[in-house]
């Protein structure tokens, strides 16, 4: 056989060429692959080697120790998984393989998916609702902190406490804050602090780390323990940019452990200032209130009526004099009127009196009953009658009666 060999490549050249091709392919550089684990092998170095397969195909996979040490479960043959990473050529063997950086047991989804799913679920249940959040006490008597006693978080928090405020009591409840046992311990810590009767504020905290490191604070049991806590809970997990489920469900989210400590005790400083202000306002108000009252009192005391109280009566005395005067005048007036009336009557009486008439020679004649006789028809012959003149009386007997010769004819 004859070969044309103008264009011949070495194996390495082909491998390198393929490597370059793989490296520039967007799909191959960032992908998720799902399948069943087989031929799993963990080397002494800590690297993991296995094959991901389905019914028809196999994909060689390697996960180096830097990544595999963060797995929170044990990989084993037969496990259904989803693997994230990139695919490239392993030139030594001339094989392509998947370089894995993340593995999720299938069914659970990626961490991000789990996070979103749990967040949605708890939100719908109302665990994040503002109205369910408890008030952080203004002056916590004793703060329970669930965290690692050797981590950066507790150091940060204690240094805040020491720097800013001394007068606070703290009980640290040690807990793992990463790995698959952490969630259980955090829950135990929260529950333990709730059983005590001297804790009025809880902080759950850990320092910064990868999403895997912070994962315990995204676990449902932790969220439920925080929600169920009778004691208000502040979360201080990771850095400002890290949001965990614990943050959403906590009564107050602090962006960092230091901030959590600040939030727990900042209230105290504010309260002391505002108490001072209230005291000042109270005293000032009362002072001016009393000064005002005094001023008012002395201005009232200065008024005329208290200076010359007799003025109260002068008017009335004058009026009384007037009335007495009036009374006198009225009485005199009515007395005079009566006198005058009396005089008139007197003179009338004088005019009507028969005495003067009788003096002039007239007389009055009476019957025996002393009724004056004014009618000739009442006189009978032989009747004894009485006659009165000015200076005496005499009795006579009627001898003759003449009906004519009267005075009114």
């Amino acid at each position: 056989m004859e070969y044309k060999i103008d264009n011949i490549y070495s194996v390495s050249q082909i491998s390198s060429y393929l490597e370059a091709l793989f490296s520039t392919d967007d799909v191959l550089q960032d992908l998720w692959v799902k399948g069943e684990v087989s031929n799993f092998y963990k080397a002494n170095s800590g690297h993991l080697y296995f094959t991901v397969k389905d019914e028809n195909s196999q994909l060689k996979t390697v996960m180096f120790r830097s990544r595999s040490s963060k797995l929170d479960f044990e990989l084993e043959d037969g496990m259904e998984i989803a693997v994230h990473g990139y695919i490239n050529v392993y030139k030594v063997r001339g094989e392509y393989q998947l370089y894995a950086d993340q593995i999720v047991p299938e069914g659970k989804g990626t961490l991000y998916e789990q996070f979103e799913k749990l967040k949605q679920k708890l939100k719908e249940e109302g665990l994040f609702k503002e109205e369910n959040k408890k008030r952080i006490p203004l002056i916590p008597k004793k703060i329970g902190i669930v965290t690692s006693p050797t981590g950066a978080a507790i150091r940060d928090m204690l240094s805040v406490v020491n720097r800013r405020f001394k007068n606070v009591s703290i009980l640290v409840v040690p807990s793992l804050v990463q790995g698959d046992k952490a969630a259980k311990q955090i829950v135990e810590g929260i529950n333990y602090l709730n059983k005590r009767d001297d804790i009025d504020l809880i902080i759950v905290s850990r320092g910064g780390g990868s999403i895997e490191d912070l994962w315990p604070f995204n676990e449902e049991v932790v969220a439920r323990a925080i929600y169920g806590s009778k004691v208000p809970v502040i979360s201080g997990v990771g850095h400002e940019t890290d949001f965990t489920i614990a943050d959403f469900v906590a009564d107050l989210r602090a962006p960092t452990p230091s901030a959590a400590a600040e939030l727990a005790i900042a209230n105290r400083e504010e309260i002391e200032t505002s108490l001072d202000n209230l005291a000042k306002r109270l005293l000032h108000n009362q002072k001016s209130r009393i000064t005002n009252a005094k001023d008012k009192l002395s201005s009232i005391a200065r008024r005329r009526i208290f200076q010359k109280p007799e003025e109260l009566f002068v008017d009335k005395m004058q009026r009384l004099d007037e009335l007495i005067q009036n009374l006198k005048w009225n009485m005199e007036k009515s007395l005079n009127k009566s006198k005058e009336k009396f005089n008139i009557l007197n003179s009338k009486l004088d005019t009507l009196s028969p005495l003067k008439t009788i003096k002039r020679g007239y007389s009055i004649t009476y019957d025996k009953d002393f009724n004056p006789i004014t009618d000739i028809k009442k006189v009978k012959k032989g009747q004894v009658i009485n006659t009165t003149v000015i200076n005496g009386q005499f009795e006579s007997e009627v001898k003759n009666i003449k009906e004519d010769g009267g005075l009114d004819e």
């Binding site: 006490p137 209230l278 209130r289």
Partner: protein, 81 residues
């Protein structure tokens, strides 16, 4: 209002104190009422200050052994550097 001061929580005491100061500042109270409120206010301030200062200063840590909560010790003695 007339609740015994010692039965009040710190938060309630502060709240009442604020109310009193606001009422006094609004004016319109009789001198007698305002004196009553003033003396209540003074008592509340005293009570709040006592509350602020009664906390004892202690940093402790719980020690677990074999997953059992065992004892409480001073934090600095156990973990201090």
């Amino acid at each position: 209002m007339s609740k015994e001061i010692k039965d009040l929580s710190f938060e309630k005491a502060i709240e009442e104190l604020e109310e009193i100061v606001n009422k006094l500042e609004e004016g319109g109270l009789s001198l007698e009422d305002s004196l009553d409120k003033f003396s209540r206010g003074i008592k509340l301030i005293k009570y709040c200050n006592e509350k602020l200062n009664e906390t004892e200063e202690k940093i402790e840590v719980l020690i677990k052994e074999d997953d059992q909560l065992q004892r409480i010790v001073n934090f600095e003695e156990e973990f201090g550097q």
